[in-house]
């Protein structure tokens, strides 16, 4: 029996037989298809995934001519920051790290500027500072520059914001109060996103990446849709990347609708249609890695969701590929063997435009 070195979803190295890997790929695609009611991967696609997983090389790459656009979610931070468990802590000026080094040394196609507290609410009072930072980056780079921040609706609930914490209200049976609280937070969050985007547009930034959308459930998603719509009305030339936080939209309000579609429970291929409607230019789906399952299972599952999203989308899809998403193991410094395999699979099988 042939055995291969592969990983679990938490990054642990395991030896697995060819038969077991094939079985894991099959159950992974079935799981995604069953949940989102979408087609499973076909035999050829599963065989391609099998070849990618079992490739004996430590790292793999895409075929020539199939290269995809790459952005790095303010990855330049890793150069100068040190969280104690990750980051290099190099003494490099931040706009240099986020801009020129990211572009000219790392070869990233879309530069993404951000701040450590990457929430639009926190960015609002420092918009003039962001404008200066972004202007400096624009003057030293050629690639498109986006500012990336999160709606982070949680920041609008007490004790950080004025609105009562809705989950507690729900648990107390105060459903109307919880909904009113969420709706109030949506309005303020939307205003914050639009405020920051509008200011950065004045210095000629290329786009805004609204990231981790849906992290606080359907009202968070709703806020990003409304903000996208408003930004595009004011600044049609400003690109919007609509980056998700989870594979399905959690229903905390559960009755919110956009354009007649209920937001709770939407899967990536359905989320992208609303993002398009709102005016987004790029969609960033997220598929969560289940750390207790194998890398093969997670990869097939993630590719199945993403493939359908790409198929249904009429805007470019740049899938999120990092710690614990996109089939990549849930490990702070994701292993390069798994990262390259997952990226190759997303580009060659799911057909994404970027990662």
């Amino acid at each position: 029996m042939t055995e291969h070195t592969t990983r679990m979803g938490d990054g642990r190295v395991v030896r697995m037989s060819s038969e077991k890997i094939r079985a894991e790929l099959e159950t992974g695609t079935k799981e995604a298809a069953d949940k989102a009611k979408i087609p499973e991967l076909n035999g050829n696609e599963l065989e391609t995934l099998y070849e990618i997983v079992t490739n004996p090389s430590r790292i793999v790459g895409v075929e020539m001519g199939r290269e995809a656009v790459m952005s790095a979610d303010a990855g330049g931070f890793s150069l100068f920051m040190d969280s104690g468990s990750s980051g290099l802590g190099l003494p490099i000026e931040r706009s240099l790290a986020l801009g020129a080094i990211t572009e000219k040394v790392l070869g990233i196609d879309i530069i993404q500027e951000s701040e450590p507290d990457a929430s639009f609410k926190a960015m609002k009072p420092i918009s003039p500072y962001l404008m200066v930072v972004c202007q400096n980056i624009l003057q030293s780079t050629i690639s498109p520059l986006m500012h990336i921040s999160m709606p982070n609706l949680g920041y609008f609930y007490k004790p950080d914001g004025p609105w009562d914490e809705p989950i507690g209200l729900l648990r107390d049976g105060k459903f109307d109060a919880a909904k009113a609280s969420m709706e109030g937070a949506v309005q303020q969050c939307t205003e914050s996103i639009v405020y920051v985007a509008t200011h950065l547009a004045t210095i000629g930034i290329d786009g805004i990446n609204i990231d981790t959308i849906g992290a606080a459930g359907d009202p968070d998603f709703y806020s990003a849709l409304l903000a996208t719509e408003a930004i595009k009305k004011q600044n049609p030339e400003l690109s919007i990347e609509f980056g998700m936080a989870t594979e399905s939209v959690h229903g905390f309000h559960a009755q919110l609708k956009y354009n007649g579609t209920r937001l709770a429970g939407l899967w990536p291929h359905q989320q992208v249609k609303l993002a398009e409607k709102a005016g987004a230019d790029i969609f960033g789906p997220v598929i969560n890695t289940k750390s207790q399952n194998s890398f093969s299972w997670n990869l097939a599952r993630a590719v199945t969701f993403t493939k359908q999203c790409v198929k249904d989308s009429s805007i470019p899809v740049h899938v999120n590929m990092g710690m614990g998403v996109g089939g990549v193991p849930m490990f702070e410094t994701p292993p390069v063997d798994a990262v390259t395999r997952a990226n190759k699979a997303m580009i060659e099988v799911a057909g994404v435009d970027g990662v």
Binding site: L170, R171, K290, S291, M330
Partner: protein, 211 residues
């Protein structure tokens, strides 16, 4: 004698978030002399199904909460007919997001699911100081303490709470369960937790397995 229609009505009422209907169905079970333990098991099956539907994103938090309320109403009726010595004692479950971490949405979902499954939940909130977990365990003598952490930098604090419980001589009195976006089963093993929940449903299933 098994009365399928009464049990069926009870199951359906909880599943369809019909609080009043669940209470009426429970009363009908009592009136029809349905074994109350069997009726309680049926109600538990309905809650389990609710958990499955939630996991599949087919129903959402508000529905789970209303179903839990329906379950509570039905239980209140049925438990009156179950002798005290045969009633399962509600397991106390202290839960909170560890110090330095303000993310409490996931923790709130777990608390809701535990509540629905009949645990006596004490929610300490978010950014909870390690010493507060220790004080709460000492004060409430719970069966479980649940530690949530979304970020890699705060996941290590879960280990600090376990150590603090050990130092206070309380570690062996309580099962420690951990969870959250940045955690894995491997991490749970490393820090010496008793259990790890991949998600809310998994957390509840694992907690029940300890009972």
């Amino acid at each position: 004698m098994i009365s399928l229609s009464e049990l069926d009505n009870l199951y359906k009422a909880i599943l369809s978030q019909d609080v009043e209907g669940a209470e009426i169905a429970a009363k009908a079970c009592v009136a029809a002399s349905v074994d109350p333990i069997q009726a309680m098991n049926t109600a538990s099956e309905a809650i389990k199904k609710i958990g499955d539907l939630f996991d599949r994103a087919e129903i959402f938090l508000p529905e789970v909460i209303v179903s839990a309320e329906a379950m509570k109403k039905a239980s209140a009726v049925l438990l009156k007919d179950i002798p005290k010595e045969m009633q399962k004692k509600k397991a106390k479950f202290i839960i909170g997001t560890v110090e330095g971490d303000v993310h409490d949405i996931g923790k709130g979902i777990v608390a809701t699911m535990l509540d629905a499954e009949g645990f006596d939940v004490i929610d300490l909130g978010r950014d909870v100081a390690t010493s507060k977990f220790v004080e709460a365990v000492r004060a409430h003598n719970p069966a479980f303490v649940g530690l949530s952490a979304l970020m890699t930098v705060t996941a290590t604090t879960q280990g600090a709470v376990i150590k603090a419980l050990k130092d206070a001589g309380l570690r062996d009195t309580v099962k420690v369960m951990v969870g959250g976006g940045a955690t894995t089963e491997f991490h749970a093993e490393e820090i010496g937790a008793d259990g790890w929940g991949a998600d809310a449903l998994d957390a509840v299933t694992k907690a029940k397995s300890f009972l």
